[in-house]
Amino acid sequence: MKKPLVKVDVVETSSNNSKRSSRRKFIKLGGLGLAGSSFLLYACSEDDMFNPGGEMNQPMPQPEPEPGEEVFDLGSGDVGILNYAYALEQLEAAFYTQVRAGAYYAGAPDNEKEIFDDLYNHEVIHRDFFKAAITTAAGEENTLPDLEFDVSAIDFDSRDSVLQYAQVLEDTGVGAYNGAGDRIADATYLTLAGKIVSVEARHASAIRSLIDPESGYFAGDDVIDENGLDLAYDPSEVFEAAGGFIVTDFTANNLPEPMTGS
């Protein structure tokens, strides 16, 4: 399980490669485009590779990165899945931190402020819990470093913008955890993921009911299928959806496959 300490290469990119794929996913998820996103994602769905900076600096995929330019890989097995969840929780916590610093929040009615205070609390707790748990289980060298995000595409002064991105993030989180469950080997970690995903689903529902109250949108037909089943995403789909916000380079080349192939 021990791996060499790797340096995380924070790369500022301004590419527009793979833009279509990212945008398509966002449109599908939340009816949102990501125009104006200043950095982009290279996601290879075959090996779940997520490596935006690498693509910029090295047009050809490089199996053996130069020493000092090595990027963090989420890892294999349950630790890989925990790091994957940790990446998403870092993004959510960063998002709600920004929401609470924005003009929409400053002028929002109390009931909406309280919701965003709670969501901020929950995601910060999830994030720092994962950091502690992964560090304990696998060592600091195998724990995803603090990621850098670029959320400049989001207008934090606009209620509509904040709610729509919150919806995308929460729905994506639900789908990510649901799709990861069958990749977890240890029952304890599966239950832990379950304890978190239902809270993410409660968030998604609350945000959706702020967007469209007095309707079925809290568990809308856009996310719940005819069997009454919620979203379930593969990691590659999640990286496509969320990757547009993530500046820090990392790879997800060794995540476990689903156990039952479902």
Partner: protein, 281 residues
């Protein structure tokens, strides 16, 4: 700390939690004074399924699905009757929510029945439900309690059923590991959580659960649905004493308990559901 040691702690924590919540459940049942007829429940769930030997046995997966189906029967019939009762007339938000939820719960019944049959198992029969819980409630206004009171009870019961569903599916996830039913069960689990959030918000509560509080207006009989939600230790980490990189707003115990939903055992889920099962039906 090694992973093995970490897991040991998890396991003993889980066992402790389970036995205490079962005790509380039985206490609640007897104080409620109605239908502790657990023997009538058509399936027997082993009390400890957390060991690896039983985890992958097909029986525990089938038992988990049968439990899920029973809870879905309960929910599906409840929402159909609620919509037929007229109690929701004039309450547009609740009516819209019940229509959407009813659609999902009915789909879950069909989906689970098909899944069980596909696995070669015979789905359990639908029990005869008594949503008055022996006369304690009148959620459909059948006894003439009046629309306003019936409406409050209708929402309180929906909250109890949804929050129970979330906890019950979570508690069964480990029994479905390595089976094709795990992912769909997780997909149902998060739908129940979306439902729970909206029902709670319609009732004027947060969408999430704080400590083990059932919330204003919830009958004491529903306390078993919330016992155990006050847990603040996850993965061996006491989250009230963890140092956070960003400051938590307000009370840390409130925030920590909201941030994690807790599972319940199959036994506890059965005991809660049995409050609404007519044992003579």
């Amino acid at each position: 700390m090694s992973i093995i040691k970490l897991l040991d702690e998890f396991t003993s924590e889980k066992l402790t939690t389970k036995s205490s919540s079962r005790r509380e459940m039985f206490g609640t049942l007897s104080s409620f004074g109605k239908k502790a007829a657990l023997a009538a429940i058509p399936f027997g769930l082993a009390s400890n399924k957390m060991n690896a030997a039983s985890m992958f046995q097909e029986n525990s997966a089938v038992d988990a699905l049968q439990l899920a189906l029973t809870l879905e029967y309960l929910e599906a019939e409840f929402y159909v009757k609620a919509l037929e009762s007229g109690v929701l007339d004039g309450y547009a938000r609740a009516e819209a929510a019940y229509m959407q939820i009813s659609k999902h719960e009915t789909a879950h019944v069909d989906f689970l029945k098909a899944g069980l049959e596909g696995a070669g198992a015979t789905p359990v029969d639908k029990p005869t439900f008594d949503f008055t819980a022996g006369g304690a409630f009148d959620p459909f206004n059948e006894g003439g309690i009046g629309q306003e009171t019936a409406y409050a009870q209708l929402l309180a019961l929906a909250q109890a059923f949804e929050d129970t569903g979330v906890r019950a599916y979570k508690g069964q996830a480990a029994n479905l590991m390595g089976t094709p039913f795990l992912e769909p069960a997780l997909q149902i689990h998060s739908v129940e959580a979306r439902h729970a959030s909206e029902i709670r918000r319609i009732r004027g509560l947060d969408g999430w659960i704080t400590t083990n509080m059932r919330g204003d207006g919830m009958p004491e009989a529903t306390q078993a649905v919330y016992d155990g939600e006050e847990n603040v230790t996850q993965g061996g980490v006491n989250l009230t004493t963890l140092t956070y990189a960003n400051e938590i707003v307000g009370d840390i115990t409130t925030a920590v308990t909201q941030a994690f939903d807790e599972p319940i055992s199959g036994d506890t889920a059965v005991a809660i559901a049995s409050l609404f099962i007519d044992s003579e039906g």
